[in-house]
Amino acid sequence: MSSKEAESPAQAMHISQCDSAPLLWHTDEVAAARSLGLVGALLGSLPRTPRQNVRLGRPLLLLPEEERFLGDCGALTAISQSDVGVREHARQVALYEETLERSYQEQQVLALQDRKAAVLRALNSSRPGSEVDCEEDKRRRLETLERHFSFQRSALMVQLNTARVGPAHLSAGPASCAIRTPAADAKYQVFLDLRRRGFYLTSAGKFGGDFLVYPGDPLRFHAHFICVCVRADERVPLSDLLAAARLGSNVKKTLVLCSPHCHGGGVTYSSLQWSGMI
């Protein structure tokens, strides 16, 4: 773990800002983020099964703390859409049309092969008669098929790219433009500390907390803790504490109150757990 932290990540990640939310689009970048221990949340439809909500696909939405973590590691580069010149644009259009034409030719050949195989299958299954007659018949049929075969342009399969193809345009500005507030700083400190201890963290809005803490990869474990960040000197009403503890015990997770020490010190953790009546 420590050796991984010492070296800077090999992969530079391009963050695209959509409506001031950081998104990762490339599969290798998503995998690299996971290897760093950043889980994030997938937002888009899966291309093969788009009409379901159980498994989602790219883009990956990063938490603000995760984005800041990547920024501090030096792995972030923001990208933006810059206007290309007229000549460059014309070149891109020409390139696109060329790829489309090439794809059309390939698909035409494949479509013809497909059709021939289908005809052969139909012939073989329908007439289990004498061999010699069939061969002549088959060859004639395939020849007529080749002569009259036409592949419609509208039957062409095109690819809809998920991520933008082509070279990324790097923006000159800072990678993340999130506002730094003391509350956000406190949350980031807690995030850093827990991440360094090897826990995986996701957002816990549904559970009334700040982070959901997994002992390992979320795909392999259930969450163990719900983290709530409170400042060390903050007065918390007892009813709020009880409500949070009740919530945690209802979902069989331990509530952890995290108080970061000021100026980059450690973090104090207090846990609340339902012990039952003795």
């Binding site: 997938l42 991520a163 957002s203």
Partner: protein, 405 residues
């Protein structure tokens, strides 16, 4: 999906992006196809549809719901709804439920009038002339003071038991009839006025005039024989009473030290006998209700209640639309896809408001304003938290009252 304008078919940005993600539509810009990343960056912004709103949109569409942008102008106003006007966008179902804010007072008073009616009718029975004469005499005696106080008032106006109640009844009567018919006490009218006044012409169907009603022929049919004691019996009764009764036998009278105290004792006894003791009724603070008068449990609970329950739409029309909370989408049920038509969408399943866990919880003003805007369709709050969406709705709730008439 989409709409047509100027003879062309248009798609809204969130619809276009959703179809791109499903792989059904390819969007071209300047002769180049857009990738989904381009779509996210170009179509989603805080000015058109934000990322959170698109997340909810996509989630619902993948589940099969029909999701449209909320259009406040296509919502019928409460007045139009009252009249059950067909919608300009095609006919919505004409059997729309009436808005609750219309007649809250009437329904409230109706519920409490019902137990009252039953009790009243039980009391009216003894006053009908068909009952046994002796018992009727007693109750007639009790009722006669009220009948007397009627005076010249027409008989169909209910003589409310307390003066303030009569005022309330008159007010409520203007809204709805409480189901009480009061029949005239004909038997007790003997000796006072021999005829009933004619009814108010405004209550009769047009063209009908009814004159005064002469009661005499009716009273002649009632058995109004008094118990006749002979002179000797009456004399005997008087003597017995005089012999047995001695004022000094009373313990309390003996405790009186002077005439003033004796007068006080007499006054308090008189008060207690009439049901209105002076220590209760002659001070500044009088009882809320005279216990000799009948009242239903519901009405009594109403009298002693301090907090009145209110409805969520009360005062909602006065609220201004807020910037922070607005309805984003109208959602229709997935199984109505077969019958759904853009010209006649039918009643929506819910209205969506989209917020996040980091933002504030909607306060009462926001909820009132949103419910008013939405009409009788439920409001669902879709709370977005990174990748997860939770749906919340506030339901109206009435505290149950333990009133068994």
């Amino acid at each position: 999906m989409g709409f047509s304008a100027n003879g062309k078919q248009y798609l809204l940005p969130e619809e276009a992006l959703y179809l791109m993600e499903c792989g059904n539509v390819q969007v071209f810009y300047q002769d180049l196809p857009l990738s989904i990343q381009d779509g996210f960056e170009c179509f989603l912004s805080s000015s058109s549809v934000s990322l959170q709103q698109y997340q909810v949109f996509g989630h619902l569409k993948r589940l099969g719901y029909v999701v449209h942008r909320f259009d406040a102008s296509s919502q019928p106003s409460s007045y139009a709804r009252q009249l059950n006007l067909p919608q300009s966008r095609g006919a919505r179902s004409l059997k729309r439920k009436r808005s609750d804010s219309l007649v809250p007072t009437c329904s409230h008073s109706e519920a409490h009038k019902v137990p009252d009616v039953k009790r009243r009718q039980a009391e009216e029975d003894p006053t009908l002339p068909e009952s046994r004469p002796t018992s009727s005499q007693d109750t007639l005696g009790a009722q006669s003071p009220s009948a007397d106080s009627n005076g010249g008032r027409p008989w169909w106006i209910t003589d409310a038991v307390a003066s303030h109640q009569s005022h309330e009844h008159a007010c409520r009567r203007s809204l709805c009839w409480d189901g009480v018919i009061v029949f005239p006490d004909v038997a007790s009218l003997r000796g006072h006025s021999s005829c009933l006044a004619s009814p108010d012409p405004s209550l009769l169907p047009g063209g009908l005039t009814v004159g005064e009603c002469d009661v005499k022929p009716w009273t002649r049919r009632i058995n109004q024989r008094e118990v006749k004691m002979s002179a000797k019996d009456r004399e005997r009764e008087r003597r017995e009473h005089r012999r047995k009764w001695d004022v000094n036998r009373d313990e309390k009278v003996r405790q009186c030290r002077n005439w003033a105290e004796y007068h006080q004792l007499l006054a308090s006894r008189q008060g207690r006998r009439s049901g209105r003791p002076e220590h209760l009724w002659q001070r500044e603070v009088t009882p809320l209700h005279d216990h000799t008068q009948p009242i239903s449990t519901g009405e009594l609970l109403d009298k002693i209640s301090v907090i009145k329950s209110t409805h969520v739409l009360e005062g909602a029309s006065r609220l201004k639309a807020s910037e922070e909370w607005r309805i984003c989408f109208t959602v229709y049920q997935p199984d109505t896809v077969a019958t759904f038509k853009k010209s006649n969408p039918g009643k929506p399943f819910a209205h969506m408001c989209i917020c996040s866990f980091t933002g504030p919880v909607p306060d009462l003003a926001a909820i009132k304003q949103l419910s008013f805007q939405s009409g009788d369709v439920q409001i669902v709050f879709a709370v977005v938290d990174a990748g997860d969406i939770s749906f919340y709705t506030f339901k109206d709730f009435q505290l149950p009252t333990d009133v068994y008439p």
